[in-house]
Structures are given as C-alpha cells and as structure tokens.
C-alpha cells in the first residue's frame, strides 16, 4: 500500500518540483508588484484554459517532442546533440526552398515531400558532427555548437538573398520568403491552430520507442551507448552507429523545423538569431527529453507540460505586465528544480525495492532495480 503512494509521488514529482519553482516565481512577482494569484491563474488559463489554449500548448510542444525523441536516440548511443537549433534551421530551409521552388503541386504530394526533405536535411546536418566524431574524434558538443552558428548565418544569407520575397512592398527589404502556397499548409486537426504535425510527432515518438527497443538497429544503438568495447566484441561497427544516431537525432530536429514552417509560420523570416525561428526548441527539446527520462514515450507528456509552461508564461506576462525576462528566469528555475527532484525518485525506487525484499524474506533475490537510473541513462559524450 505504502508502495503505491510513493509510486504516485514519483509520478507527480516533476509537477511538485514545478510548483516549488513557481513558488519562488511568486515571490519574484510580488517583488515586481504583480499579483501572483492572478498571474498563475493566467498561466494556467493560457496553457489549458480553452480549446485554443490547449491547441497552442500542443503546437508549442510539437517541435519540443520531435527534437526530444531525436535526443533520446542520441543519448542512447552515448552522444549528446546540442545542435538541435542548427538542425531545425537546416530542415526548415530545405523544406521551404522546395515549397517555394514548386509552388503549385497538389498538397497531398508536396506535404509529405517537404517533410521528408526537412527530415533528410536535418539528418545531414546532424550526420556531419557524427562523422567528425567517428572519423576524426571531434567532440560533438564542440562541433554542434559551432554548426548552430554556421546554420544561422546560412539562414541569414539565404533569406536576405536567394530566398527573399522579391514582391514585398515597401522600401525596406525584409529578410523573409514569400508565403508558401496555402495548399501546402499542414491540415488543422480541430478548428484551432492544432496542426497535423502534432499528431505526426506523437506517432513518431511511439515509432522511435519501437525502433529503439524492438529493432536490431535500435538494440545496437543502445549497446554502443552503454559499452563500446562489448559492442565491438559483438561485431557491431561502432562508428557507423554513432553517425547513424546523430544523423537520426538531427533528422528529427530537421523535421521539427519543417513542421514549424508548414504547420505554423508558412514562411521563413530571420531576426538574425536561431531562437527567432526555433524559439529555442532545439535546446528545450533536450530538456523535454530528459524530463521524459530519455524515453520517447515519456517525452510526449514531458514536451506537452514544458510547452504548456512556455505558452502559459507568456500569458502570465501579458496579464501581469512584468518584463518577459522574468519568464525566462522562471523557466530556468523550473528546469533546475525538475532535474534536481530526480534524486527523490531514485531514492524511492531504492526504498521500494528494499521494502519488497522485506515483504517476502524468501532469500531468493528479487529483480534488482538498477540502483541508479542515471547510470543506465546518461552515457554522454
């Protein structure tokens, strides 16, 4: 019985941690002379308050989820991919380029096509660090950080030059493409902003779960991440799988970029930063993945909640009129609190296993819960 409670506690832990962080946020709000109650009411309403709110949350969560499941793959093979920003951009550029080049094909043909192209482009951009790591032992944290910056400049160049909307009125040349053909807009699921991309993301998350735990390639990826020596002994070509997993990781980010363009923006524009386009989904996707225990299925609710936080926080800003900077700081607090709370989950798992042992003192050992989930989950770099 007691065991059940602590299991429930586990499930709620991230929420509890989030609330703790918001509590500190409340104090900051008070200091800024805003009313925390109405503020958080607004946050909740903004995230869940209506069909539209829920839809916006889901839309926000979509790129997080797509990037996140890619992150799961990378982490499982023992590499950390912080190039999500650049990979999203590449995916978006390629998909947009294609959409602009062929403006009047039927959507039924073009939509799948642009998504695939985005997927591939992101895959290439992610595969390069993979190749550099496998072939030249270039650390992927370094190369992905650098390649994010390169991607941004590439985007700026294309959007102000080759891909710019020539027909825009006015004196100032805005670095933006023309609006993509409405025929290519991702279909809306319900009469809200919720688009097909969200559904695709969820399906892919489930797919990636099967990929990692039910296919030979997935098995090899996990093996490589946990023990490269044993993997070689098993006849696995380790470098190949490192490249593959980084490429896949990048591919999902690339898809996220394409989905963002065809599902939400319907054109591309740059303010000179990556975040201007990605909304930092390339980073936040990592957070979502870890909130989801680096498990594709766990990443689904994790992304949704993180998306809710982002959407709701903006609403909070509008209602309380505090500077948006507070929201950024608040997100930081939430992230820190949630990762930190993991320790109690682990302590619980341990206690439960030992209680279970007490329960039936048969002597024959029970299944040993991994003492330290991190051990299993984070083989980074």
């Amino acid at each position: 019985m007691r065991v059940r409670w602590s299991a429930l506690f586990d499930a709620l832990l991230p929420l509890i941690a989030t609330l703790a962080a918001l509590l500190i946020g409340a104090i900051m709000l008070l200091i800024l002379g805003a009313n925390p109650i109405s503020g958080y009411a607004a946050l909740f309403e903004g995230a869940f308050g209506s069909m539209n709110a829920l839809a916006d949350t889901a839309v926000k969560a979509t790129p997080l989820l797509l990037v996140g499941i890619g992150i799961c793959i990378a982490f499982r093979s023992g590499v950390i991919n912080i190039g999500g920003e650049g990979q999203m951009i590449l995916g978006a550029l390629a998909a947009t380029g294609l959409g602009l080049a062929f403006p009047d094909l039927p959507g039924i043909i073009m939509i799948p096509l642009v998504l695939v192209v985005g997927f591939v482009a992101g895959g290439v951009w992610g595969g390069i660090p993979g190749y550099l790591k496998a072939r030249f032992n270039v650390n992927e944290i370094l190369s992905t950080i650098m390649m994010n910056a390169i991607a941004v400049q590439g985007m700026n160049f294309l959007l102000r030059d080759l891909m710019i909307d020539k027909l825009q009125k006015g004196a100032a040349r805005i670095p933006q493409t023309a609006r993509l053909s409405t025929a290519y807009d991702l279909p809306r699921l319900v009469p809200t902003r919720l688009h097909l991309g969200a559904l695709i993301a969820v399906i892919l998350a489930i797919g990636v779960y099967f990929f990692l735990w039910r296919t030979t390639i997935g098995y090899r990826i996990r093996a490589v991440g946990l023990n490269s020596h044993a993997s070689r002994y098993a006849g696995i070509k380790v470098p190949r799988y490192i490249i593959l997993s980084l490429a896949l990781s990048g591919a999902f980010a690339g898809l996220a970029g394409a989905v963002q363009v065809y599902g939400v923006n319907h054109f591309m524009i740059t303010d000179g930063t990556a975040a201007g386009f990605t909304g930092s989904a390339g980073f936040n996707g990592i957070v979502a993945a870890l909130f989801g225990q680096l498990h594709p299925i766990g990443t689904i609710p994790a992304s949704f909640l993180f998306g809710a936080l982002l959407v709701g926080a903006n609403k909070l800003q509008r209602v309380t009129q505090v500077p948006a900077a507070l929201i950024t700081a608040l997100n930081g607090l939430v992230v820190v609190f949630v990762v930190s709370s993991e320790i109690w989950r682990r302590k619980n798992a341990r206690r439960r296993a030992i209680q279970a042992l007490e329960a039936n003192k048969a002597g024959e050992p029970q299944p040993a819960i991994p003492v330290n989930p991190q051990e299993e989950e984070h083989h980074v770099g």
Binding site: T215, T216, L226, Y233, A353, P365, A368, V371
Partner: protein, 520 residues
Amino acid sequence: MTEQELLPSGHPKIHHLEMKNIVKRFPGVLANDHVHFDIKAGEVHALLGENGAGKSTLMKQLYGLYHPDEGEILFDGKSLRISSPADAIRLGIGMIHQHFMLVDTLTVAENVALGLPSSRGMLTDLDKVTERINELAKLYGLDVRTDALIWQLSVGQQQKVEIIKALYRGAALLILDEPTAVLTPQEVDDFFVILKQMAAEGHSLIFISHKLHEVMAFTDRVTVLRDGKNVGSVQTKDTDKRQLAEMMVGRQLKPAKLLDQSQIGQPRLEIKGISALNDFDSPALNCIDLEIRAGEILGLAGVSGNGQPELAQVIAGLRNETGGTILLDGKDITKATPEELIQIGVAFIPEERNRDGLIREFTVSENIILRDLNSGFYSKKGFLDMPSIAERSKSLVAGYKVKTPSIDTPMKSLSGGNAQKVILARELSRNPKVLIAAQPTRGVDIGATEYIHDMIIQQRSAGTATMLISEDLDEILALSDRIAVIFHGEIMGIVDRADATPEKLGLMMAGERIGEEPEC
C-alpha cells in the same frame, strides 16, 4: 588502542576487531544477513563464499564504502561508526579492492600518491613517492615502472600496483578482496611471503579468495558465507579443501573426471606465423604457430601480459594481425570480421568479462542475444523477435544453471560466476567449431568453476577445437590435451599433458624455450 604498540607502519595495533549482526540490504538482495566476523592482531583470516555470497559487501562496510543497515563494528571493544573510507584509513584499515581502484590516465606513482599528504604541502612530491615505491618494490620483488600510465599495464601489473598502494600506505588491518585472481603462481608465492611477514609484525589480514589451496596455504582461520549468512568459522589447521568447498556450495562436489583422447580429429584451427601489435603499437605477438584439432583442448599457459589477450583478439577478429594467416578447416579467416567469425562458428569468452563480454546495464536476455543478432534466431527482418528471445533465454538460463531472478534482471546485479555462465551459454549454445576461452573462471567460485569446466569438456566431446587461455596452472593441467606456453609474445614450446609438470611449465613461463625458434 594504547600508544606504545605502534606497528612498523606507524599504525597502532588493532587487538580485536569485531563485526556483529551485520545486516546489509540491496534492492532485491539481502547481501548480509546478521553476519558475525572478527579478527585479532597478527591473524590471517580467510573469508570464503561463492560469487554473491556477500564477502565484498561485508568488507566494504568495514572500509566505510557501505553502511550497515543493522549491527555494529567494535574496535577493541568499543563501537565505532565508519562513515567513509577516510574514517577507515584514519583507523588504520587498508583495502585491496576486488575491482581495481586505479585511475587509468594517471601514472603508477600518481596513483600511489593520490590522497596522501605531500612533503611539499600543496605541491606534489612524486619524485619522493617514486623513490619510496622503488624501495618497496625492491624489498618485496614487485617490479613496476612508476612512470607508466595504468592503462598501459597488464591486469597482473595493475594488481601489483594495488598491492603497492596498500603496502605504501601501511595499515594495521588490511583487507584483501581477491588479490591473487590475476597473479601467477610465482607472484602469489612472493606475495604470501610479504603477507606472512606483515602478520608476524602484528598486522591483521582479511583474505578473500576463490582459490582454496591459497587459503589452506597461509591463513589461520576461515569464515564461510553463503547467501549472505554465516555458514561457519574454522581453524585452517583443522580443515581441508573439500570440507571448505562443501561449506561454500552446501553440497558434495564430484571428483574431476579424466579425459580420453579418442575423439580428437582433424586440424581445425591453424595459426601460422601470426604477429600483432598491442594497444600502444608495440609488438605483442611474434610469429605465433599453433594448431588445434577438432575435439581437442589446447591450454595456453603464461604469465599475464605476455600477449594472451592480443592473440585471442586476433583470432576473434578484434585486432588486426601484422603478419601471418589463420585457417579454419583449411579456409583462410585471417581477414574475417567479428560478425563473420561468429557466423563461421568461432566462439570467444573474453578475459575482461565486465568490459568486453557483456553489457552490465542490459538485461540477461539482452546479453544472451548480444552476439547473435544476425543468426536469425532472434530477429525477423530487422525486428527483434521478443517471444523467441524470451523463450530461448529462459531455456539457456535454465540449461546453464544461471542464478538470476529473471531474464529481465539487469546483468550488473548478477555475480561474476553467474555473469560468466551467461556468456558461456551465449557462446556455447551456438555449438561452435572453435572456442577461445580466456580466463573463463577468474574470480569465479568453485561451484561455478566446476560447472564451467564441465561445459568446456562437453564441448570438446562435441568436437569443438578449444583454446583455453589461463594463468591458473591447475586449471590448465586439469583440462588441456596439449599445453602451449607463451612468453613475450612467442610460443616457448608445446607439451602433452602427460609429460607436463608445474615445474616444467613454470620454467617455460619464465622464458625457457624447448621448441625451436619461430622461422619468420
């Protein structure tokens, strides 16, 4: 502890240390169940038990790495809490750990100096440390290069570093958790001389080993654990190997059977002039010529660090040869990839089980399929075939008597013996043409050892050509049809078991060549 009785190492004597009613629970395991243990100054006390019996756990609590859930630890009658190794060290307790506690990227000297106060205060005094190490090394005949990086050393040499670490620090009570598993007979003897001397000086020594003859050789008292409980405690002089063995496994052991050589057949594995480099590109193998016939076990004896792992890796396709060829049933397999070799039927039990042989975080069944994904047994068109994986894992776990809660238990919760059985099950179930078994019973308890030997012999009868690489001469002599000895990467000669004696082999292992020089 009274001041006047300082040991040469400068630590006060520990007249009587007592562990009372120690209970230690781990997730899923009751590792220590009201265990009693005690030791007096000058005593050498053996702690025996099968893999997973709870020996290391008990000692880790004495050393402050784990903390008892129940029970107390008494120093000369007064109860003390040991909350960390730092405490233990302060109390004059030292420990040689079962799994090397060495920092690969540091030099031998740095590993020894780590954590010790320096004569130069904030600055390291490695030159002084090096001097002192060399003194110790000379004194005890432990030769190691103090400026070598740990990862460059063989397991045997690493074990010596662990010993030096312990001696350098000195301790009133020294815990030795399987310190001899990777040492050669000669080295073991030298080591025992040291230990006897320490005991004579009044140090207390706790000695864990799976090798009963060692226990008989120089301990005063033996305490046996089984499934975390005391089985009993006896004076060494009043007991014998068989009794101890049976206390450990809790049943009669059958006598080792003799082998008839009738079924030995055609040459199966032919190794011709193989040479290779080691991990840091210096020559490890020079022109190895070996031939193993179907149904034959060839023992490869030798002191650790003379090229055994490299040879095994070359055969298994994990290391490129710089010259020579390998034939299997006449077919050239020199350039075959590990994948292909598995298909062709070359089985390999690697020396470093936990690093190379299995993935500790994977479940038992995931480890069973590790090398057979392409066999078609476990997958259909790239998808894992979960039912047949489960089914086959279950039957193998049962068939090879692997003691595990379930096939979904993480490998790391299995003890070494059982882990080894999983590897065995995976490799032998393929009934391979060739079996390369490197140190198959290192650190594995008697029960499991006996079982593993049976399996290897069965495989022999099935016509497998086996290369048994071992530093344990008893094992070599017990199983091999012929015995080759390797030294500095060259074969010193090959003898039939009939006319092989420990002395003869010992000489060859020390570099005496009986065969002719290799011609390449």
